[in-house]
């Protein structure tokens, strides 16, 4: 067991160190792309906490990403709040929204949960349109903040690193074991004395807060707020990233984001309608790795992957 724990932590720290070194090797353009991958990777890690480890399929997570985005962006734009303060306003804001909406949403289970979250997500998107005079919904707002690229990269890495190690610690903790127990067998876990609602609600809250942190960081680091990030597409993306990388694996989300992002990059160089290529790639990928890449590898070979 000891050896395995060392191997697991070693792998994760190794990945983070690798990402730290990577910034010195990347050409400027890809430097920016990888920064985005780190931020969306954080979002995917947050999503995976719910889908992969708790077994809850949310279709409205864009709401939390956007809550962080707007929660951080609007105070900067209208009130001149400083970036650090704005980050925490965004994160706590999305956490509050997740805490509140988790109560009705988690009364449902299975696909009804997916639909209720989808509807909440749509409501959030429509609200950005309804308050168009404040949000400038589809044009978006450019924020008066400037972060030099190297700092931007390292802040994104710091956020992603905390999210990754935080999840790793969480899923290996007793709390995480209860979540996985709920995922596998709700009744049995309930009989052991754990309150399913309370555990799911906490996981939902953590996932919402972390999604919001990713959104807030995105707004501040890229100085932009727009309601495309509140649309259903940004609820589907994390699902896609996590399923491609491997749901219920700690490193799967990052791998999924990186793979999907670079497939899109490569394909958009090839074709106007690059999504055709992306679509075919998705079908082929999932045929080869039905459990996502890391999930399938864990099934076949590396059983110790967390």
């Amino acid at each position: 067991m000891r050896v395995q724990a060392r191997r697991v932590w070693g792998l994760h720290l190794g990945v983070l160190v690798g990402l730290g070194v990577l910034q010195f090797l990347l050409p400027p353009y890809h430097h920016g792309v990888v920064t985005r991958i780190l931020l969306f990777g954080t979002y995917a890690v947050a999503y995976n906490l719910l889908l992969g480890y708790t077994g809850l399929l949310s279709l409205g997570h864009a709401l939390y990403f956007a809550a962080g985005l707007y929660g951080a962006g609007l105070p900067v734009y209208y009130l001149g709040l400083d970036a650090v303060g704005a980050f925490f306003v965004g994160m706590l804001g999305s956490m509050a929204v997740a805490a509140l909406l988790g109560i009705p949403a988690l009364r449902t289970a299975g696909l009804a949960f997916s639909i209720v979250t989808l509807l909440f997500g749509q409501t959030g998107y429509l609200l950005t349109l309804y308050f168009n005079r404040i949000t400038w919904a589809d044009q978006g707002l450019t924020l008066p903040v400037q972060v030099p690229p190297p700092l931007r990269y390292n802040l994104a890495l710091l956020l992603f690193g905390s999210a990754l190690l935080g999840t790793l610690w969480l899923v290996r903790s007793p709390f995480g074991r209860v979540l996985m127990g709920l995922r596998e067998h709700e009744e049995r876990t309930h009989l052991l004395g754990y309150d399913p609602f309370l555990y799911r609600w906490t996981a939902h809250l953590l996932s919402g807060a972390l999604s919001g942190a990713a959104g807030a960081a995105y707004a501040l680091l890229f100085a932009y707020v727009g309601n495309a990030f509140a649309s259903v597409l940004y609820s589907v993306y994390p699902l896609l990233w996590v399923l491609v990388g491997g749901a219920g694996t700690t490193l799967g989300p990052l791998l999924g984001v990186a793979l999907v992002t670079y497939t899109v990059e490569a394909a958009s160089g090839l074709l106007n309608a690059y999504l055709v290529v992306v679509g075919i790639a998705l079908v082929l990928l999932i045929r080869a790795f039905p459990q996502g890449i890391l999930g399938s590898l864990r099934d076949r070979r590396w059983r110790w992957l967390p």
Partner: protein, 288 residues
């Protein structure tokens, strides 16, 4: 309280929209109930029906021909999707979500390439207004409602009263037992999937004279199908139809009183609330 006129109009429009939605959603519901997959590409079958209808009418000038050819083409396509994508994945839940999302991208973007980004409409195959005491209503829209209702009833008869329906229901209840009893489960799956795609395509054809065909029109329909299917109870035909009508009426009525965006916000929240209160949807089939 508005006049009875607008109210009755909202009711009638809601019925037409609701029946069209049911026609689309029922395919989603069948693949969900029987194949146990969430087909994210279902809205694209609707969209292809509409786009192909435009193409057929533009080339041949015949709407009835479009009503035959477009759904037939979409059904053939659905058989292809089943063979190439769903069957190799053994209809497993999570992988098929990713795979059908891939299919969605491919169909949507190929349509964009071949058909272009414009929204195009066609003339209704017949004009005419039916006069009610307070207002006149498009005869074509009434025909849409009638045809949708007829198709949905026919599907009901197919499911309840024929051998094929029996086999479908048996497959849904216990796939393994069905295999053991010699039911060709894979062929049933293909049939169900193609049938659902064909019905969505019919709805797509019918909608073009009122709403125009556009390559992105599948998404809204997919989201609504999703909602209606869960609201109506998993895989229940009756539940899907009633839930569609409710969504149609609610949309019509709320739009009478509020601006469109606020109306959609309220409608969305009402449906969410219904689901929270009645966890299994309005008609929970597991009960009976």
């Amino acid at each position: 309280m508005p006049f009875p006129g607008p109210l009755a109009l909202a009711l009638l429009d809601g019925t037409t929209n609701g029946l069209l939605l049911a026609l689309t959603a029922v395919g989603f519901s069948l693949s969900f109930g029987i194949l146990r997959i969430v087909n994210v590409a279902h809205g694209e079958f609707f969209m292809l029906g509409a786009v192909l209808a435009w193409a057929v009418v533009t080339v041949t000038g015949s709407f009835p021909l479009a009503l035959l050819l477009a759904p037939a083409a979409v059904m053939a396509l659905a058989v292809g999707v089943d063979r190439l994508v769903l069957r190799p994945l053994r209809y497993a839940a999570q992988p098929t979500v990713v795979a059908t999302l891939g299919v969605l991208y491919v169909l949507q973007q190929l349509t964009l390439l071949l058909y272009g980004p414009e929204a195009r409409g066609i003339a209704a195959p017949f004009g005419g207004t039916v006069e009610f005491p307070w207002f006149g209503y498009s005869g074509y829209k009434l025909a849409i409602a009638g045809l949708s209702a007829a198709l949905l009833s026919a599907l009901g008869v197919l499911l309840r009263g024929t051998d094929l329906g029996l086999v479908m229901r048996a497959t849904r209840q216990d796939p393994e037992m069905a295999v053991a009893l010699g039911v060709p489960v894979e062929r049933v799956y293909t049939t169900v999937f193609a049938l659902g795609a064909g019905l969505a395509a019919v709805a797509g054809v019918l909608v073009v004279p009122v709403q125009q065909a556009h390559y992105l029109m599948g998404l809204d329909v997919l989201l609504l199908s999703f909602v209606v299917v869960i609201l109506g109870g998993l895989g229940s035909l009756g539940g899907t139809v009633v839930a569609s009508l409710l969504v149609g009426w609610m949309d019509g009525f709320i739009s009478l009183f509020f601006t469109p965006t606020l109306a959609r916000i309220l409608a969305t929240l009402v449906v969410a609330l219904v689901l929270v209160v009645r966890r299994g949807g309005l008609w929970d089939e597991r009960a009976g």
